[in-house]
Amino acid sequence: MKETHRPIVEASGLIKRFDTVAAVDGLSFTVERGEIFGLVGPDGAGKTATMRMLAGVMQPDAGSIVIDGIDVVSDPETGKQHISYMPQRFGLYEDLTVDENIRFYADLFEVPARDREERAARLLAASGMSQFRSRLAGQLSGGMKQKLGLSCALVHTPRILLLDEPTTGVDPVSRRDFWRILYDLREEGVTIVISTAYLDEAERCNRLALLHGGRVLYCDTPAALKQHMPGAIVAISSPAGREARAAIAGLEGVGDALLVGDGVHAVVDNAVLRIPQLREALQRANVPFADIAVGEPSIEDVFIALLENGRGLQ
């Protein structure tokens, strides 16, 4: 069979306005087959509107979406057969048990009876929920509800999984479980588009689009994104963070400085050049410090730097 090189999702020039506000403002990106693609940004960046348009449950005002060769804008019903969409508030039935919810979605997606039990057992085991099968969904914690929602969305075998902020309000342990399931699905060849407001979660995606104000600030792998950090982060460990920050403020080549629990994280234009100068400034001001070292920029550092540089768009 001939391998097709067309991306499985092609979104181009998407615009969605609510009243006069453009929630999505000329968004374009592509998702490759079998990857985990992140739509990452703070509240109001346009993540949910984009997800809804991909899922074919909201019409864009302009732009096109082609998923697996299907024009989702003109033919949303055909698109839905290949897509499983988990909205922020997934429709779990709180007065049904875990098992009953899964059975309900299996019926809805017309999953053959013989596949059902095995698939349900595997999904629940992967999310560490096997012992809760007879518990009412309404009595599950937030993290467990999200995992049950994911199990319901996966009870059939979609080619594309759209997850809208599935980990919001979910604790780190449950978040890891959740991602482990996503990686297993990726191994099975499922393409996943996931939105998140946790910038650190971006690191878990194969590629991501960093969104702000309905536009793409940047789109690439997490590692490539960090290459776009202008300058470097220098971590100063000091019990006197505020004094340390005051001592280095205004030095040449030193930008924003952030107080953290262990001291200060400062943006500098050139770490090799500036570290000795920072050390000297701290000594001159008599500020105690344990260490000055180059720190790894976080996705948040890059996000803020990209915004400040006014670089938008791809």
Binding site: I36, P42, D43, G44, S141, G142, G143, T168, G169, V170, D171, P172, V173, S174, R176, W179, R180, Y183, E187, A197, Y198, L199, D200, E203, R204, C205, N206, T221, P222, A223, S237, P239, G241, R242, L258, L259, V260, G261, D262, E296, S298, E300, F303, I304, L307
Partner: protein, 321 residues
């Protein structure tokens, strides 16, 4: 548990226990928070974070143990404690159909700010929140970051020496979030003790010390650096390559490997001895036809520490049961 405690303790929890029926929500919890210290509470949903904060605010009576806040026994005199604390929750509890000034005046009344001080305190809160010029703006028209800073302004109107923040920055823009934390550090530098609960692991980095809480117990306390250096019980390797699935399977039971998990395009492998595993693991994978393109030691994140410590705690509980 020997991390620094700047200043004299403003919050002392001694053998705190809270039971709801047979369920133990808070289980022999001990900690101290110094004057001007920012302490983070991290833990899964239902770990007991909010219950502890509610006990310290005087909203819940502990079943046993003692809580002292600003030197006052909370169970004995909750009213006096409430005058000395500020509280801000993730929902901000602002009145959306009132404007900025009206909200401040309302909270000034609730916190019984003396009449002759109110104007001064409102000015302070408006400047701190960066809301000068927007005093007449309805709260519902403000972006999340502004609302958040206004809520903080409301919580500190009565100059409390102690501040409780319950998941204060959910969903707020990164730049606003940084500005918020800058305010918290300014308050702490002025001597305010801050206890903040959060789900954002990167946010714990802003705290002087962080406590990990699981099933009602404090399982680790320390500065972010201390936690990252000592709490993991091993060293982390980053491993990149093409066949992550088979690699993960091959490493799970490999000698010297304590834990292994997928992380984006790579694996994070927790090993007993990084130097040794750096040579051993590639050789072991080679035998199975797997050739990682990159293996190198990395610094653990607080999330790595958190997940690992919870796993260890759960295993110990299972053994004890």
């Amino acid at each position: 548990m020997n991390a620094r405690e700047p200043g004299e303790p403003q919050i002392i929890a001694e053998e705190l226990i809270k039971r709801f029926g047979t369920f133990v929500a808070v289980d022999h919890v001990n900690f101290r928070i110094g004057r001007g210290e920012i302490m983070g509470f991290l833990g899964p949903n239902g770990a007991g974070k909010s219950t502890i904060i509610r006990i310290l605010c005087g909203l819940l009576r502990p079943s046993a143990g003692r809580a002292l806040v600003a030197g006052i026994d909370v169970a004995a005199d909750p009213e006096r404690v409430r005058e000395r604390i500020g509280y801000m929750s993730q929902k901000f509890s602002l009145y959306r159909d009132l404007n900025v000034e009206e909200n401040l005046r309302f909270f000034g009344g609730i916190y019984r700010v003396p009449h002759n001080e109110l104007a001064d305190r409102m000015r302070f809160a408006i400047d701190m929140a960066g809301l000068r010029g927007r005093e007449k703006a309805l709260v519902s028209t403000l972006a999340g970051g502004w609302q958040q800073r206004l809520a903080l302004g409301c919580a500190v109107l009565h100059r409390p020496p102690i501040l409780f923040l319950d998941e204060p920055t959910s969903g707020v823009e990164p730049a606003s979030r940084r500005r918020f934390w800058d305010l918290i550090h300014t308050l702490a530098a002025d001597g305010v003790s801050v206890l903040v609960s959060t789900h954002y692991m990167d946010e714990a980095e802003y705290c002087h010390r962080a406590a990990l809480i699981n099933q009602g117990r404090l399982i680790a306390v320390g500065s972010p650096e201390e936690l990252k250096h000592t709490a993991l019980g091993g060293e982390l390797l980053l491993l990149e390559g093409d066949s992550l699935g088979p690699t993960l399977a091959a490493l799970t039971d490999a000698p010297g490997v304590l834990d292994c998990s997928v992380f984006g395009n790579a694996l994070h492998v927790l090993v007993r001895d990084a130097a040794r595993s750096l040579t051993e693991l590639p050789a072991l994978l080679e035998q199975k036809g797997l050739r990682p393109t990159r293996v190198e030691p990395i610094r653990a994140s607080l999330e790595d520490v958190f997940v690992q410590l919870i796993a260890i705690d759960m295993a110990q509980r299972r053994q004890a049961a």
